[in-house]
Symmetry: C2
Subunit: 380 residues, 2 copies
């Protein structure tokens, strides 16, 4: 059975003080239906991603809230897998379609993060990590800082290697009107920014963001340019970093990508561009190596030579990524699919990847306990 992405939409990402979680959800649903040219009455089920509604605004049971959008009873399935919630929702939507009960479904992800206190939000983010890690006093950036320090030590990296993905992603975001930070930054600026958890600096971390995004998936092709779901794979390993054998790889990314390439019948060299989970700049370096795009320790070289920029051989994070487009947790994995759709449908405007044929989205929960990979390809 073929599954098509029929359209997608993301709200502006940023500090959206005047919008509630419900406002963001409904704007994304409206936008995706309009972009897809699909009416509300065609949607048979909704898959919803949100991590912290309960924690930050005491609003769980968001599925029933989204049901109110429809003039008839509609099942809405809320999933949560930390920062991979969006990817899991897309994967569950694909399963729902493959199960044969639905022809057209909607996926929506949203997060409202800037209403809480900084302490509350930081504490909430650590709910993605293990109890032992919280007990050890680690922060979320602290966990990734351990990986970054190890990467630099193992592969003779230098401070600049952690800055370059941010420079690239800010450059891309400057072409994306929906981005939280639509402006470039220099490597000097990144390296001058405050140290958050050694060796990671402020401008090497993704921000706290409000936003939502939605896509329409269907077993029917529709009349627009067809964008096909070539692979949808979720896997999970373990919650705590301490249980892993390596700090310079997310084993779940390696595993999920193997399965996804097999499912799609293609390999890393077939990818026109990728959207990877750059919650920190180190995450982007690990991701592209785990996905088999570069040998171990070599992603930093690709960042230096610029082949991963828009206009280069294979752009990484043309949207600006989590770093510069923003990271409203539940929305991110869905936003990546929106970006893949826009690029493959030729609707990406100023940041259009030339001759985009195949795109991969890589969404990570926590420090890699959950990983979801989707591969989309432009129809023939």
């Amino acid at each position: 059975m073929k599954i098509f992405v029929r359209g997608g939409y993301q709200t502006r990402f940023g500090e959206l003080w005047s919008k509630s979680l419900a406002d963001l959800l409904f704007e994304a649903v409206d936008g995706a239906l309009e972009n897809a040219g699909v009416s509300e009455s065609a949607i048979e089920a909704v898959f919803l991603a949100n991590k912290m509604g309960g924690l930050l605004t005491n609003q769980n049971h968001l599925g029933a809230l989204v049901s109110e959008y429809f003039a008839r009873p509609v099942p809405v399935v809320r999933v949560e897998a930390a920062c991979a919630s969006g990817g899991v929702a897309v994967a569950q939507a694909c399963q729902g379609l493959r199960a044969g009960g639905y022809r057209t479904v909607l996926v929506v992800g949203a997060e409202k993060m800037t209403d809480g206190s900084v302490e509350g939000t930081s504490w909430g983010l650590m709910s993605a990590a293990g109890e032992d890690e919280r007990a050890a006093g680690l922060s979320f950036v602290g966990l990734y800082a351990l990986m970054a320090a190890r990467y630099l030590a193992e592969y003779e990296g230098r401070a600049e290697d952690l800055a370059l993905p941010a420079v690239k992603n800010h450059q891309h975001a400057s072409l994306n009107e929906k981005a939280q930070f639509p402006f470039p930054v220099t490597a000097e600026k990144v390296l001058e920014s405050g140290l958050v958890a050694d060796p990671l600096r402020l401008l090497e971390c993704s921000p706290i963001t409000d936003g939502a995004s939605a896509v329409v998936l269907s077993t029917r092709r529709g009349s627009g340019r067809a964008v096909e779901m070539a692979a949808s794979v979720q896997t999970g390993t373990c919650l705590s970093l301490a249980r892993r054998e390596t700090l310079t790889s997310l084993p779940a990314t390696v595993e999920a990508s193997k399965v996804a390439y097999a499912e799609a019948g293609l390999g890393p060299s077939d990818l026109s561009f990728v959207e990877v989970h750059d919650c920190f700049t180190i995450s982007e370096l690990l991701a592209v190596e785990d996905l088999g795009l570069y040998p171990r320790g070599m992603a930093k070289v690709a960042m230096r030579n610029g082949e991963v920029r828009l206009g280069g051989i294979r752009p990484i994070n043309p949207s600006g990524g989590l770093k510069a487009c923003g990271h409203p947790v539940g929305a991110t994995g869905v936003r990546q699919i929106v970006e893949l759709y826009l690029q493959l449908a030729g609707q990406a405007g100023q940041r259009q990847v030339e001759a985009a044929r195949v795109g991969l989205a890589h969404n990570v929960g926590g420090t890699g306990g959950t990983v979801v990979i989707h591969i989309l390809k432009a129809g023939v």
Copy 2:
């Protein structure tokens, strides 16, 4: 494609101070695999239900925690739909099997509710309701009290009608060694208990509970007595009570049951017994009327004449229900499927329903914004 329930297990429900959320999850998984006679290596995916891990113990991303149970990468999908989380997880597991990617999956639900403060837990429970309802100062029991008052007024009920489901369910729980309250109570005792939200009294409310439960679902029959999934239906209407046209019915239950009966090819009269969502005694009265077991206003008559007791025409909540077996939110919907399995497989011991052939499980999120119905039947 046929789906079989291969086995199930519930932990003791109650105030389990010495057990963590992880302890409960893993005990349930161990128990279900043992009861099903299925090895860990046969499980291809896990569907996990939890409502308040983030809120009460700051542990979200529970999927990755459950992945640690396995010696290999396994996808774990956590769903949340307030008190219907367990039912949604079972329904998603059925979709996963129908999608063709898996042959055998596990569903586990758990909640650790007694570690928080009473205020924190009460506040957390209201995360299942709407923002307008919280702003109005309503408590969760307050919402159901509105329904109870309306029911008594519309159908000329009396105080005793709200007590009798509790008396029956405590009687049933006295035969269930896993129940939180395994002892009978008299109607006098219930009617003497403190008023929580007029007209609902303390012994007419389900308790705050720790516990977990798990089931193994498979497209393969296995060697034991076959128990088949005849229908699996989720639907949703709206989060807030104020948006409904009636207070004496949950429209989502009516809708979901119509679809479920059609899917199973049977009707209310075919049911040997039911497990319904009695978060309050009024919920049980509304549920059995919404399910078409009794005409409007008549459930209270059935409670009086005793036909719904074990040994009666069609027992309701042979387990003791949420009221007396306990209500660890994420576990409840899965626990209902465990009960259906044990009854249909003839493993229910002292509380065995005679000649049990078909059972229905009814799981509600919030005040009915989400409803999930499963129908299981003993194999032929």
